[in-house]
């Protein structure tokens, strides 16, 4: 092979390698920016205050910089979403895997995936304009802005995350296990819950972790329907503000670039990033181990 061709090959390979390096640069960029700006923030606000203060009022005369209110808003809406999505998602996955005919599954699964494809503004609209009024009829005195409505809608949105991955995990369980269970006279229900789910547990756990991560990072549904008042509460009927809504709110306002208030979005963003980063990594490693188990 002639030298020019070899050179060209090498050049192209280097070019492609650089392209794949863009992802590494992105991660480095995110971590650098969040950390550096957060450090500047913590130079002025003690990290102890940040973690323990129960008020978040960075823009007012009585300034407080406690992340707990925003964190509670995020966790509250996420918890409601998960409480909806995990039972529904798992049971549906079991049904599709054990009980339903392949044709039924082939039709239903894609339709459920549509739930994940719908843009989140649409869900936000649905939460504010349909679910909240509906809930207000059932629960008199419910606020227009509350955590319950977006939490429920987020839960519905996340069901495909749980269903798809759990169903894949269930399908990957060796037939022999299932056959053996039936062979001992177990019903489908017993087989599903005593044999299949435990066997597929790592895949199911991965799906739950990914769903949690998705819910933590959700912005538009809560921005539209949950409210804009940071409040330390675990009452789903109150209006709350999540970390994500806060970041959008400050960016949409006009906060001067180098002010302490502006730096709050980095501190808040870093908190959020740390949570999702840890969750994503756990799920990645669990998934790797689970893949290896069945290879």
């Amino acid at each position: 092979m002639s030298l020019p061709i070899l050179k060209k090959e090498k050049l192209i390979e280097v070019l492609m390698m650089c392209c794949s390096f863009v992802t590494v640069l992105t991660t480095i960029g995110i971590i650098l920016i969040l950390t550096l700006e957060a450090i500047k923030f913590f130079a002025e606000v003690p990290i102890g205050d940040f973690l323990t203060d129960t008020q978040w009022t960075p823009l007012f005369s009585d300034k407080h910089f406690g992340i707990l209110p925003l964190l509670s808003g995020t966790l509250l809406t996420t918890t409601i979403a998960i409480l909806v999505a995990v039972p529904l998602g798992l049971i549906i996955a079991v049904y599709l895997n054990e009980y339903a005919s392949p044709r039924f599954t082939a039709v239903v699964k894609p339709i459920l995936e549509v739930l994940a494809a719908i843009p989140t503004v649409v869900y936000g609209f649905f939460a504010l304009q349909f679910v909240t009024p509906l809930l207000q009829k059932i629960i008199p005195g419910l606020n227009g802005f509350n955590a319950l409505s977006p939490g429920l809608v987020m839960g519905i949105m996340i069901i495909p995350y749980i269903t798809s991955l759990s169903e894949d995990a269930l399908r990957a369980v060796p037939r022999s296990l299932r056959e053996a269970s039936y062979g001992m006279g177990a019903t489908k229900f017993q087989t599903a819950f005593k044999v299949m789910i435990p066997a597929a547990s790592s895949g199911i756990i991965v799906s739950i972790i990914l769903a949690i991560s998705r819910a933590l990072g959700e912005t538009m549904i809560v921005a539209i329907a949950a409210g804009q008042e940071p409040k330390l509460t675990f009452n789903p009927m109150e209006s709350v503000e999540t970390i994500t809504t806060y970041i959008v709110q400050v960016s949409m306002g006009d906060v001067p670039q180098d002010s302490l208030e502006y730096k709050t979005i980095f501190a808040a963003g870093l908190t959020l990033f740390v949570f999702t980063f840890i969750l994503n990594n756990i799920s990645f490693f669990v998934r790797k181990r689970f893949q290896n188990k069945y290879e």
């Binding site: 061709i5 392209c19 549906i92 549509v114 503004v121 649409v122 489908k188 990072g217 979005i265």
Partner: protein, 287 residues
């Protein structure tokens, strides 16, 4: 086996079966209710004026022209940035990446990026593109931000598509004396095109629906003008919907619903095309 246990087991089984079916139907019906609610609220509003008009303080004179212009321009720039880099990266990782620590490091990295909340990409874009590189809240800053966001999708889809190409094709190509790049570019990539295309379309579909990162980089919410170029300010359809949804007047809610119908139609169309291409391509390589 004890007959009492057996019949109890059977009862549980039956109860569960119908409960589970009910849950499935419930999940599907929420989707149906959502679509019906939105269509009933917004369908009447859709006419040519809705597409041609710029936003207005009067709901019935407001239209989505600037939102559509902004969205299409933004998509165009996002794609021309994300596509080449994403595909080349995916090709490299799958075809050239040796099973070494570097490759698996990037793999973890991409899995992570796919799970990073979109607002964080917004913060990245705001700091890097808008402020440090002085691009302001322009189309190009938005495009760069979105490109970074969808790149993991394109890379993963490319890798999956290339993984599915049978090795026999590669062997045959090497057997004829082709170099690695010749094989990759003339044999592997064309065979994987269907899968890659599917990934592109899914990435577009994702980019279209993104709102939060664009709000963070400063995309405007009320844009009564058509962007004058990639350095201009802009808005997109999801942002316009967000603005109308936040307004308490009933007429703007109708506008929001109508805008959602347009957005959903585009999203479903794209996803439908992606599924169609994927099915056709899947059949093709299964020889």
């Amino acid at each position: 086996m004890n007959s009492k246990n057996y019949s109890r087991g059977k009862l549980t089984d039956k109860v569960f079966k119908y409960t589970a079916l009910a849950f499935t139907v419930f999940a599907l019906s929420v989707l149906v209710i959502l679509l019906v609610d939105i269509f009933s609220k917004g369908l009447a509003r859709i006419n040519w004026d809705f597409f041609r008009n710029l936003p207005s303080r009067h709901a019935n004179r407001s239209g989505i022209m600037t939102a559509m212009a902004g969205m299409l321009s933004l998509l165009f720039f996002t794609i021309i940035i994300a596509l080449p880099i994403g595909i080349l990266a995916g090709v490299y990782l799958q075809e050239y990446g040796k099973k070494n620590r570097f490759a698996s490091f990037i793999e973890i990295n991409i899995a992570n990026l796919a799970g990073v909340p979109s607002v964080i990409y917004g913060i990245l874009g705001l700091t890097l593109f808008v402020r440090i590189l002085h691009m302001g809240n322009s189309l190009i800053a938005g495009a760069l931000t979105l490109a970074l966001l969808i790149m993991p999708i394109i890379i993963v889809a490319t890798r999956e598509a290339i993984k599915a190409v049978p090795n026999s094709l590669r062997e045959a190509s090497y057997g004829m004396g082709a170099t690695k790049w010749q094989t990759t570019s003339k044999v592997v990539i064309p065979s994987a095109l269907g899968g890659i295309l599917t990934g592109i379309i899914l990435a577009i579909s994702r980019a279209i629906g993104e709102t939060a990162p664009l709000l963070v980089i400063g995309a405007l919410v009320y844009v009564p003008f058509i962007p004058e170029g990639p350095n201009d300010q802009f808005t997109t359809l999801p942002i316009q919907i967000f603005n109308w949804t936040s307004r308490p007047q009933a007429d703007f809610i109708i506008n929001a619903a109508a805008g959602i119908i347009v957005l959903l139609l585009i999203t479903f169309l794209l996803n439908g095309i992606a599924i169609y291409i994927r099915n056709k391509w899947y059949k093709k390589i299964k020889y």
